[in-house]
Subunit: 311 residues, 2 copies
């Protein structure tokens, strides 16, 4: 059994985007296994168990990932992940990977792939709600898929917004008010919000929104009225209904599962397409086990590992 302590180092973001795109294509072809994500709840957080199998990549395994919002006070990451890789032929546990940074990267890659297929144009301005690790990684991954002429960042703390911009010195990047963020062709929401922070009246026709932050029951970032104006694309319907951007609106009867336009996999395969320049599109990202497996495949090819006695 191999242990990969830092498998996210030296990975190529373009290669990750392609691997995640292929994972979504296989999902669209219904060529993967992915039992429902399970949740265990603690007083101060939870952990999720995400098993999966991509036969065409010959990779299977499970990610175990926590969310403990109060960890920042303890100098620990809010989210930490371990990935266990199982050999499909024998069931032997081939590897354990530190999955924390891989989780960031594969989530960003899903946003990048969604932007590639759903963006209203190849050249965009990007507006970001949030200034954390995920906001930064989303912009970096998406900038490899589209030509970016401007980046605007909103954060509750302007210093954080400015710090995020400093990480993109090659772009015109500046903090902005929420309404100004929403003038961009591509909007990314990457906050831990539990109440909508994006108003429907701020959103013009022809906008694409990557809704990244909502990944558990009770979380949402968008005014539900936006969903009803938009073509809503999900990573996986079952997960999105349970814990994605649409979970609260569905719970409240403000959106219906039947209104989901399709999965990202269907768009990657070209079975569905953005129809008009005026269309508002939303990608609801919850994070799939197959993304973790696809990025683990790359990470295991390149990463340094130590051998662990197992049998």
């Amino acid at each position: 059994m191999r242990y990969y302590p830092k498998p996210a180092e030296n990975l190529d973001l373009r290669e990750i985007n392609r691997a995640i795109e292929e994972a979504f294509a296989e999902h669209g072809r219904d060529n993967v296994q992915m039992p429902p994500k399970n949740y265990v709840f603690f007083k101060k957080g939870d952990f999720r168990t995400m098993p999966g199998y991509i036969p065409s990549l010959d990779i299977a395994g499970v990610k175990v990932v926590n969310v403990h919002p109060e960890n920042r006070e303890k100098d620990l990451p809010t989210v930490m992940a371990v990935i266990v890789i199982i050999n499909p032929e024998t069931g032997y546990p081939e590897a354990v990977l530190n999955g924390t940074k891989l989780t960031d990267l594969r989530t960003a890659a899903a946003g990048a792939v969604a932007a590639k297929y759903l963006s209203p144009s190849k050249k965009v301005s990007i507006g970001v709600f949030g200034s954390g690790r995920q906001a930064q990684t989303q912009v970096a991954a998406t900038a490899l898929e589209l030509e970016v002429d401007e980046i605007r960042v909103w954060s509750r703390n302007q210093v954080h917004a400015e710090a995020l911009c400093k990480q993109f010195p090659d772009y015109e990047c500046h903090p902005a008010a929420p309404e100004e963020i929403c003038e961009c062709e591509l909007i990314i929401t990457a906050t831990p919000s539990r109440v909508p922070i994006v108003e429907s009246e701020w959103i013009s026709k022809g906008t694409h929104i990557n809704a990244i932050g909502a990944d558990a029951p009770g979380k949402e970032e968008l005014d539900p009225a936006i969903l009803n104006r938009a073509t809503v694309v999900v990573d996986d319907p079952r997960q999105a209904v349970h814990s994605g951007e649409i979970n609260v609106p569905i719970e409240k009867g403000l959106f219906s599962e039947g209104a989901i336009a399709g999965t990202l996999g269907e768009y990657v395969l070209g079975r569905k397409k953005r129809r008009t320049p005026d269309e508002i599109t939303v990608f609801d990202s919850t994070g799939l086990a197959i993304q973790d497996l696809a990025i683990s495949k790359i990470a295991m090819e390149k990463g340094e590992w130590i051998g662990l006695e197992f049998l």
Copy 2:
């Protein structure tokens, strides 16, 4: 993060029985979290993901375990397991344990606890169907809970039955025909069978059966007529219906979920009891994540570990 390569060494079987008994008591009190076991299927086997949390023991985590019957040809175990332990307070992945032998031990302990509460008498003869690792471990764990005056072993291969007996030199132990096995007060079925191997007419009143082998859809060891004569106790109703001894009879309409008499936890707590000397009782064991966590707790206190860089 700690890695325990051989956490099953030097464990005390009595202490394991008590830890598993306490886990079932907490299950009976509804003081645990245990999302459904998930299955991922391969051409030659499967793997299962088993998350759980026992707040009173302050232990949480996930077992990942495969079943690949053809592994014997490759000199690999059929079943291999990895357990990831998550700190409830922070979500930090505290440990990864080699869970293969722990799985054997905690399964045997469940049988021992069931025998303690459901056996018709404190002094018993034990009849065993099967001669593998699990058959051996079941007898060893149960012999700590009851006085054993004789052991009878049936195996398709008599040499294997004799080999099992050699592991119990302090007992009168001998190979026997299936009908003779069924004359024992306590019967243990620990085979990989997919068709019933124990006939109803062989089973007399006042017998207890630990049905251990059936742990996946399609597997069964007992003539369903036995279940209809018996008080059927399960480890967990949801898992038993899906993959325990009762799964095939339920699928065929020969047994109903409503006929389950209770859970082992209820018997451990004394909320339910064996009622008459004539009662036939069956314990349907599927294996619970909380058993893995309870034994991991002990193993982590005593086992040798190596430190793995994680953050």
